[in-house]
């Protein structure tokens, strides 16, 4: 498996505090990789660095051989590296369908002026987006809610809509920020199936997550962070036996690793 | 040079006090109080009436200004801002409501006090002249009082129970609510306190420059500038902003005297550039 995205010696300092310290790993085409670690380990900073919502202090992120760190987030998304957000981050006042429709924008071949004038190309784009939106909503089980105002959706559907928005961009790599946070067991299991489904559509997935059982169930490989540094990397069973990982979790008095 | 510095400090102390009230209301309720300048003018007219017309002592007049504005602030919050915040779909509504309140105050002030500028008898006579600095005693007194009020306000926010509650509220409304802070009561209290500060400065300055019904809007604009320079919603920022604007004006009016309005053009234009580079002012939190 060839690496599609590579993180090389990534470091981020916030006014003296080192949030991410010299982290390197790579993400292989078609896998699901989870980044875990106790609270404050630097997971979300790493996540923002990869999606380019933060600029690294040193080091770089490359995607398909091209450096993406330091570029504008929308430009990175256009390359095919797309993030989702924690919690209910959606376009609240738009309908579910419009949420997904608008996220198709980076695929458009017509220009903005074309959409204003309603050119043939713009109309072709719109037709294509509508078809793809139906497909995505069907895949994520949101079809019946397509016309509902997004802000009124229950929690579980909100998360699905977040993923739908991500999928609309036709990403090569989807970065999921704590996709199972705040879910009960059943919801989590459904979401795990969903994420696997996303991978089966040919999208490489990287996720940052707290929920250990879910991570163990879903991931092909796991990267463990502690105090901003990578302390382990391997398959779920390797990570479960890794002494450094067990120590990190015991020392942090965080929730159990769920072995 | 010393003269310019003294003038700047004198102006800065007044300005800081105005900005403090505005920033407090903003920090607590995310409301940009367009009517702040009008509150200042109202405070001025109260002192004018009590001290200038009824010939009661100046301190009594100041207290009257403070109390009446605090009352007005509390009523505004309870009967206008709170319901609109609760019912509107957009955050912008409060800003527009504040603009309408500013109109209302302008109208009331004009009806009750007329267009004419009003002055009061001097509170202190005489001028301090050290050779390099010339400054009237009443200005020294007013500046000193302003500094005392600022210090008092900061101590209040730091050490009193309502002060601590309001700081918690400003930091994170939801968290403060979870911690058991009575959000409604302290929003109301904070709005009243902000209005009180505006009234107090208005009262203070009547003794120096008098009061004029039409200047509310201009005062508001200046207060916005200070808050922006320092960073919205931060006590230190309001004080810094007030001092910076006071100094800029003192220096600008001296150096660019011959050009008149150019002073303000330069100040405004540099402010726009400053904010474009440093969006949160000198010490503001991100995105206010």
């Amino acid at each position: 498996m060839a690496p599609i995205l590579t993180v090389t010696n990534l470091t981020k300092k916030f006014s003296g505090l080192v949030a991410v310290n010299d982290v390197s790993f790579s993400l292989n085409q078609g896998e699901i990789l989870a980044v875990i670690g106790p609270n404050g380990a630097g997971k979300s900073t790493l996540f923002k660095l990869i999606s380019s919502f933060l600029r690294p202090t040193t080091g770089k992120v490359t995607f398909e051989g091209e450096t993406i760190s330091g570029r504008a987030p929308h430009a990175v998304a256009r390359k095919g590296v797309v993030r989702t957000f924690q919690e209910a981050t959606i376009f609240k006042a738009l309908s579910v369908r419009d949420n997904v429709l608008v996220a198709h924008h980076l695929r458009s071949r017509a220009g903005l002026a074309g959409f204003f004038l309603g050119t043939t190309r713009a109309r072709a784009d719109e037709a294509e987006f509508a078809r793809s939106t139906d497909d995505i909503l069907g895949f994520l089980g949101l079809k019946d809610l397509a016309d509902a105002e997004a802000g009124s959706l229950p929690q579980g559907h909100l998360r699905a809509l977040g993923i739908a928005i991500g999928l609309a961009t036709n990403p090569k790599v989807l970065l999921l920020d704590e996709p199972f946070a705040g879910m009960n067991h059943d919801e989590t299991m459904r979401a795990v199936q969903l994420v696997k489904g996303v991978r089966d559509r040919g999208v490489t997935v990287m996720l940052v997550e707290h929920d250990m059982p879910a991570v163990m169930k879903i991931s092909d490989r796991i990267v463990v962070l502690n105090f901003g540094q990578k302390i382990a990397e391997g398959t779920p069973s390797e990570i479960q036996r890794n002494q450094a990982v067990i120590d990190a979790y015991l020392g942090s008095e965080d929730e159990s690793i769920g072995i | 040079m010393e003269q310019v510095l003294v003038n700047g400090l004198y102006l800065g102390a007044q300005y800081a006090l105005i900005a403090l009230g505005l920033t407090l209301i903003f920090a607590l309720m995310n409301v940009l109080n367009f009517a702040h300048g009008q509150m200042y003018v109202l405070g001025g007219f109260v002192t004018y009436t009590v001290y200038g017309q009824w010939h009661l002592p100046f301190p009594v007049a100041l207290v009257a200004s403070a109390v009446s504005l605090a009352l007005i602030g509390a009523l505004l919050e309870k009967f206008l801002f709170r319901p609109v915040i609760r019912r509107s779909k957009r955050d912008e509504s409060t800003m527009l409501l504040a603009a309408a309140v500013a109109f209302l105050f302008d109208a009331i002030i004009l009806l009750v006090f007329g267009e004419k500028g009003r002055g009061v008898p001097k509170i202190l006579n005489g001028v301090l002249n050290t050779g390099t600095i010339v400054i009237p005693y009443d200005r020294i007194l007013v500046a000193a009082l302003a500094v005392v009020f600022i210090a008092g306000f900061m101590a209040f926010m730091q050490f009193s129970k309502p002060g601590r509650a309001m700081r918690a509220l400003a930091q994170d409304r939801t968290a403060a609510q979870l911690m058991g802070v009575n959000v409604n009561r302290y929003s109301n209290f904070g709005f009243a306190l902000g209005a009180l500060l505006a009234g107090l400065v208005g009262g203070l300055l009547v003794a120096i420059v008098g009061v004029n019904s039409g200047i509310g809007g201009a005062i508001s604009t200046k207060a916005f500038l200070m808050v922006m320079i320092g960073g919205a919603g931060v006590v230190g920022g309001a004080i810094a902003g007030g001092l910076v604007l006071g100094m800029l004006e003192a220096v600008g009016l001296t150096v660019l005297h011959a050009y008149g309005d150019i002073t303000y053009l330069v100040i405004f234009a540099s402010l726009m550039i400053f904010l474009a580079i440093r969006p949160n002012g000198l010490m503001g939190k991100p995105w206010g």
Binding site: F53, T89, F91, V102, G118 | V84, M95, A99, A107, L111
Partner: protein, 326 residues
């Protein structure tokens, strides 16, 4: 799409009334002053439409007066100093305002909430003070006695007569303003129904999310702001011709706030909100003239009352207009 059709029909009826019934009766009644009020309302609602577009991307713009002033001066200078046709000066004034908006907008549109509002508020003052200071704008005296708009002729056929030769130029100006207003709102409506409008709303809802979906938010924000300022410039240009003058105080901070109030009162969720808001506010103001010294008091009290009763605007009264959202 039924609601689309209803809106278009409603708008067409409104257009016909404004183009025939209103001028017929005002002329019949000999009320040139009403004609002037309508002209003003049309121009102010064009500027308000600009402010409405910045509302659509989630920015509160209190600086539209700056662009109206710029437009007024550009048109006045082009016409009076350089002898350019007034008709050509309208788009040029708009474009000039839009260019300034791009330059200023790139840095300041990164600001959100109050910070953006405050900078725009300051920009109104900067425009006023610049007009006072620059030699080309003739300082506090302003530019007065501007010539009337000249004729438009294509191939020897006069499409628009020379306004100076008209018996009643007021009615001619009325038509110019109303037609411009009708075109403006049709275009804004089209804009907001298109993907661009959807993108604007996405921006207003959540810029981070929009960005993560690959939307170039910086570019879209500048586009919205430039369109907004273009409309401000156009309104200012026509205003300078109508009043045949432009002063540093032709558009003030007060006007900037009024533009914002127009949008809000009509309803921020409705494209045609600014028209409704401007009509009601301006007419309300003029009607209250009877109240003399209580004019401002009553006006402010009514405004506050409306905000309490209808926090989402006048158009939220009409439930069937729900489709007009966005």
């Amino acid at each position: 799409m039924m609601s689309d059709r209803l809106q278009i029909i409603g708008y067409a009826v409104f257009a016909v009334v404004m183009l025939t019934v209103v001028p017929f009766f005002t002329v019949l009644a000999g009320r040139n002053d009403y004609l002037y009020t309508f002209t003003l309302i049309a121009l102010l609602s064009i500027a308000s439409a600009g402010v409405w577009i910045t509302f659509a991307i989630g920015r509160i713009n209190i600086g539209q007066s700056a662009y109206a002033l710029v437009g007024g001066y550009v048109s006045a200078i082009l016409v009076a100093t350089y002898g350019v046709s007034f008709w050509l000066s309208i788009p040029l004034a708009g474009l000039f305002a839009a260019c300034i908006a791009v330059v200023i907008g790139l840095p300041i549109l990164r600001l959100r909430g109050v910070y953006f509002s405050m900078v725009t508020l300051v920009s109104t003052e900067v425009a006023r003070l610049s007009a006072l200071a620059l030699p080309i704008t003739k300082g506090a005296k302003g530019m007065v006695n501007l010539p009337m708009p000249g004729p438009i002729a294509i191939g020897g056929i006069t499409l628009v007569p020379d306004f100076a030769t008209l018996e009643n130029p007021r009615i001619a100006f009325y038509y110019v303003a109303i037609i411009l207003m009708l075109i403006t709102f049709l275009l804004v409506w089209r804009l907001m129904r298109s993907r661009i409008g959807q993108l604007f709303v996405a921006l207003q809802q959540n810029e981070d999310l929009a960005q993560s979906a690959g939307i170039d938010i910086a570019r879209l924000r500048v586009i919205a702001y430039a369109i907004s300022s273009f409309l401000g410039g156009v309104a200012g240009a026509v205003f300078s011709a109508v009043s045949q003058s432009v002063y540093p105080s032709s558009f003030t901070t007060q006007d900037s706030i009024n533009f914002m109030l127009n949008c809000f009162l009509g309803g921020l969720g409705y494209v045609f909100g600014p028209i409704v808001g401007t009509f009601v506010l301006r007419f309300g103001w003029d009607l209250l003239f009877q109240a003399q010294r209580f004019q401002l008091l009553i006006y402010a009290a009514i405004l506050i009352g409306l905000m309490l009763v209808l926090p989402n605007g006048l158009l939220s009264l009409i439930p069937s207009r729900k489709g007009a959202k966005r």
